[in-house]
Amino acid sequence: MPDTSVRIGSLVLKNPVLAASGTFGFGGDYARLYDVSRLGGIVSKAITLRPRAGNPPPRLWETPCGLLNSIGLENPGLEAFLAEELPRMRELGTAVIVNVWGEDPEEYGELVSRLSLPGVDAIELNLSCPNVRGKGLVGENPEATARVVAVCRRATDKDLWVKFPPQGEVLQAARAAQQAGATAISAANTYRGLAIELETGRPVFANAIGGLSGPAIKPLSLRLVYELSQVVSLPVIGSGGIVSWQDAVEFIMAGAHAVQVGTGNFIDPLCAPKLVRGLRKFLVQRGLGSWELIRGCAHRGGISGAA
């Protein structure tokens, strides 16, 4: 039996497959379909200090092999999350990671401090939501990233995963996050994209620009994870277009410790548990006892180079 688990900071995930923030709610919705305890963990929808109503419809637009979204951080706010959602999330039988978004470093600090509760296994700092009007993305900027991570590091003992956008000075920002005390790097959030409606000549979203996810972006995110895993020593958690176990193996070969499935859940609602099964089979068939030998092997001349 291979050991499919992975360690990320103080947390041991039973397998490297996580549900990505914003695509899996708080886990309960998908628990109506399958036993979500099979997953390595679940990352919550982004939580903000106060409730947010999000952007007006439409919020979704399809592109070739991709999905643009403009949700705009709709969420019930921290209080309601703590009172109603977190207790249920803890019952799901897998790691609970809470994704948070703040207006400024202090808000991030307050969020992580109030989330320093038993049953919260890690906190993912969302420095990369493309769907809030008028805000530059913190994660594009090394100094801004360092500020937020440093405030949060002081505010909690919890593992801090820092989620980056795919553009901007991400490599430098990831290094800054590492120095400021981050536990892991999560890469990447959606890509800034646009669609225009021919009838009206207007952008389809009220905010014009939305976030692109799905298979279309896989080669881009894979490249980013490949680069990130060379510039930081922290574990990297990959996401972006992963829909098959083969995709997940590519990310691990590029250097990822774990992967997140987002749009894959929409393409096949059983995508994530299928990945769990496929990855285990892969280890068995290749005669690998764990992920060690292949993680990052693309940097080392491939599988045999690792042996």
């Binding site: 919705d29 399809e62 709709e74 298979p215 393409i267």
Partner: protein
């Protein structure tokens, strides 16, 4: 709220064009939707990425049927399916129509009649008002299960010439369930509100997960943001307009 949902592959038994651009698709299997609930449907690979939502039109021993109109990519791909091909279905989803209290009217425009047929079957003695842009379809099926059935169409085929809101009057009804173009629903709400008739409408929004997880299908109602796939697709009209 926490009923089980299944993901199943089902075999297409029939996919018949009723009038140009409108199809009735039957698939084999054991399904159990409430009137007004829907399924997410797909029959393609990665592109387009999303499933498409369709109301359960009818259920039988043999399986389920959907009534759909060709709109874009997804529905064009569905229209190509032939008997023996397979379909992936996620559901049943959504809240469905409430249990009616008192005399019920069903008002549908075009393929908006889709979520009303199961309602007519389940809630006996409901009257049906069906509007069509062109030639009417499935009217006989409604006659078999509904109370009285009125038909309106643009060129008067099958009954009244004009729109369904011209033949419907709220008088005598306690409650009305409607599905169709937004303007039709707004017009109905005006009529029902004046007459003191409860109106429920089935809304449409693009969907990704269908399960309530992604918040892609949110509409803003008087009680705040609501998910069409979870709190809906059926909403009291006073929440929406």
């Amino acid at each position: 709220m926490d009923r089980q949902v299944s993901l199943v592959r089902a075999e297409v038994v029939e996919n018949r064009e009723l009038v140009p651009g409108v199809f009735l698709l039957r698939a084999r299997g054991n399904f159990s939707a409430q009137p007004g609930q829907f399924y997410l449907v797909r029959a393609w690979g990665l592109d387009p990425p999303l499933f498409r939502p369709f109301s359960a039109f009818d259920l039988s021993q043999e399986g389920i049927s959907f009534l759909y109109a060709i709109r874009g990519r997804g529905t064009s791909l569905l229209a190509r399916l032939q008997p023996g091909h397979s379909l992936t279905l996620l559901g049943p989803l959504g809240n469905g129509w409430p249990q009616p209290e008192g005399k019920l009217a069903l008002v549908g425009g075009g393929v908006g009649i889709a979520p009303l047929y199961l309602a007519a079957k389940a809630f006996r003695e409901a009257d049906a008002y069906l509007g069509f842009p062109g030639r009417p379809y499935l009217v006989e099926k409604f006659r078999e299960v509904a109370g009285r059935v009125w038909v309106a169409s643009e060129r008067g085929q099958g009954g009244h010439r004009g729109s369904v809101t011209e033949i419907f009057t709220p008088d005598g009804y306690r409650v009305c369930y409607a599905c169709g173009p937004r303007e039709m629903l707004a017009r109905l709400w005006e009529m029902c509100r004046r007459a003191g008739v409860w109106l429920y409408v089935s809304l449409e929004e693009r969907m990704a997960c269908g399960l309530g997880a992604c918040l892609g299908c949110t509409v803003f109602t008087r009680s705040g943001p609501q998910r069409v796939c979870r709190e809906g697709p059926v909403f009291p009209a006073q929440e929406v307009f």
